[in-house]
Symmetry: C3
Subunit: 334 residues, 3 copies
Amino acid sequence: MTLGELAQRFDLQLDGDAQRTVSGLATLASAGPDDISFLSNKKYASQLLDTRAAAVILHPDLASQCPVATLATADPYLAFARSTALFDRSPAQPEGIHPAATVSPGAVIANDASIGPNAVVEAGARVGSGASIGANAYIGHNTEIGAGTRIQPGVVIYHNVKLGARCRVHSQAVLGADGFGFAPGPGGWEKIHQLGGVSIGDDVEIGACTTIDRGALDDTVIEDGAIIDNLVQIAHNCRIGKNTAIAGCTGLAGSTIIGANCTLAGGVGVVGHVEICDGVHVTGMTMVTRSITEPGSYSSGTPMATTREWRKSAVRFSQLERIQQRLAALEKKQ
Amino acid sequence: MTLGELAQRFDLQLDGDAQRTVSGLATLASAGPDDISFLSNKKYASQLLDTRAAAVILHPDLASQCPVATLATADPYLAFARSTALFDRSPAQPEGIHPAATVSPGAVIANDASIGPNAVVEAGARVGSGASIGANAYIGHNTEIGAGTRIQPGVVIYHNVKLGARCRVHSQAVLGADGFGFAPGPGGWEKIHQLGGVSIGDDVEIGACTTIDRGALDDTVIEDGAIIDNLVQIAHNCRIGKNTAIAGCTGLAGSTIIGANCTLAGGVGVVGHVEICDGVHVTGMTMVTRSITEPGSYSSGTPMATTREWRKSAVRFSQLERIQQRLAALEKKQ
Amino acid sequence: MTLGELAQRFDLQLDGDAQRTVSGLATLASAGPDDISFLSNKKYASQLLDTRAAAVILHPDLASQCPVATLATADPYLAFARSTALFDRSPAQPEGIHPAATVSPGAVIANDASIGPNAVVEAGARVGSGASIGANAYIGHNTEIGAGTRIQPGVVIYHNVKLGARCRVHSQAVLGADGFGFAPGPGGWEKIHQLGGVSIGDDVEIGACTTIDRGALDDTVIEDGAIIDNLVQIAHNCRIGKNTAIAGCTGLAGSTIIGANCTLAGGVGVVGHVEICDGVHVTGMTMVTRSITEPGSYSSGTPMATTREWRKSAVRFSQLERIQQRLAALEKKQ
């Protein structure tokens, strides 16, 4: 790939030798003479001076500070994101059904799909064109895997789950396990069999060890373009809106409804049966205890301190009602 | 199934056509004329008016508001739970050992048990009558799976683990991995090999990606009827009492003892070596830092606010000791 | 094994019959006459009186209180840890490649390594001497597994991951899944393909269902002797220092740098791009929102209370800014 081809492909303004070839993409600090690099945060502009990269993707305003060739654009982070696809050397599974796979005769597999070794595909399942089912993965009865969707090794998808096109599901994710529904009975908990499914749109990414439970009666729904990190729990009957991003270790209780274009940082918890409107950002480890009806940023928690200092604040937290009463008494005396 | 049969089976009082047949169970909003539905929360009573359901399971007090046939009972939620079993269409694995399974000649498999494709069952393991081991699951040496217990695809159960009857273990759960035990040594951490096992009672449900570690010397114990959601961590030597429920993303440190009939909401954390008595409820994301000796409800954390408002409170939290001192100084001056 | 052999092997001072043989290791309460036991916490010294153990590993200061034979040492916990290895009966996988494994002809497997049933090893992968790949595990292209490293059943390791010697990786762990990197584009999130790998040192332990993502451009790095519990999320480009311990349910956002000899308790969350120096302890469920440059112990959160009491404090927390203003107004009037 030449710098000229890169510039044309991603609509970048090249200042440098268009014929120069590059073979990799690296940080400013580690790039060598065969790599391109990028600068998207002005804070790191000083790293330009020492870079050995062949060329740097950056904002036009910073081009003059760069000692090597530049590929300028108003959104260098986006151009960087797009160029990663060119340099991705991830191995692809070969087309066809591996001889060690177990595919039911009642499953429908596209000719150009790929089924890895020891993968199991049950009756009534459909695997679309160009889709890939990794080694040791499991696809349940009547589950649909859309075109171009990539299921990584070890993923388990229960019956009656529908994934759209171009999704990526990382290893050990579980889609369609039973929602956690039980009624108290005279002899203990009685299971509410989970009769719904899971419905996932197009272009959804689901992280490793993430669990998305099937609905109790209706489906749990993940809309197009949502991105979900590792170790996230999405309980039964949740609905996640379009292009919403959920970071790792977040847990959503049952029937949580989240709008479009939201971002939940890591470790957030949402109690059940609340609704979060479009355009909400929730900061890390926040406990969302009620519905959110206005876009904006929301938080909870307390700031980190040394354990010694924190203990003092924590004790006083328990006394806050009394502190407020003492303050009110003093005010009255004035 | 007719309404009359339903009424008789679950001891419901039918007001309607006993011969009418139904084939599904759905919410009031989505039920069609072949479905029954249910109403357990008075808050949703207004949805009765528009339902197209054939009949509705509800409390006798609400029957008069229902425009369609009614199946009345004092506990409609329990009746709903029980009726889900009738409409569950989850595919069952066929009896017998799948040819792609790897079963040690030293394992004992009941004739009517089911071992799925690519499942591995090691020597000394026992799989009881009617039990089912899902595709790609692993059952370690000398592990016992009780009668009617259902192990979903991909589950890993290490050696010397005992599960009782009628349990359900969801995909990617790990039972019996090493507890996190290390002693500081002169050259770094020295592993404490975990010599205990895991002992799980009857009628226990274990969620997807949940981990229950083996004990250091004695067993980690889960008692009959406990229900555990997804992504829960139960460390070595914990003991979970009868019919206790633990929601998703909760983590219990080593040697936590929890009594019977407790409920831990999602994202709770329990420090090690504490004891929680019977009948305790812990609200979501609570940090349990000491033993609980009285039944009741317990909490910690701070309420959610806009990030802008939260920042102000968070700063003042760090100053609480100083605020208390200033207040005390003022009180002295009075 | 005789008491004399134990004393010699671990440099313990025996007071008792050197010829007596023992076959197990148990707690003071459950040890029988064929077991040794240990006492490392003075708090439990009273349990010595009733023990039926053949001998007890303990501190010399407590030896006089012990009614049975003693194995004295200045660090009884370390001696206990080392002796667990002697009594570990965990089954080992037999050497060689199981006939149901799928090993690429382009993989290099040491003669004395073990590849379990249904394990998949891709081209370019290398499995070192004495290493063991569990049943249903997956080893991606060009991934290296060091000598003596033990991969438990069901683990998934993507391509271009390097593990050192004598590591242990527990079931369902995922090493090398894509980091959670996306750039906002005009039509939604655009994936940043993750071009880095994961590099893991020697003697590292990784818990069940723990996820360690591959780097965006450079590698995610875990240094020698680090120990990581279950259900931990380590995002792309993190670096974990030597002998650092991370307990269960902890989540590290991208590019977190943690020094050597740190301990993070369970449920900790660390925001991205912060640095934690050597020798830091973080208490359970702490939200680490900034870099830590001084060794010591750090905390956040609020103490547990009854839900009734907690609600009062929580309401006042939201009013802290106003409380501080009222206090300042009173002070002014003095």
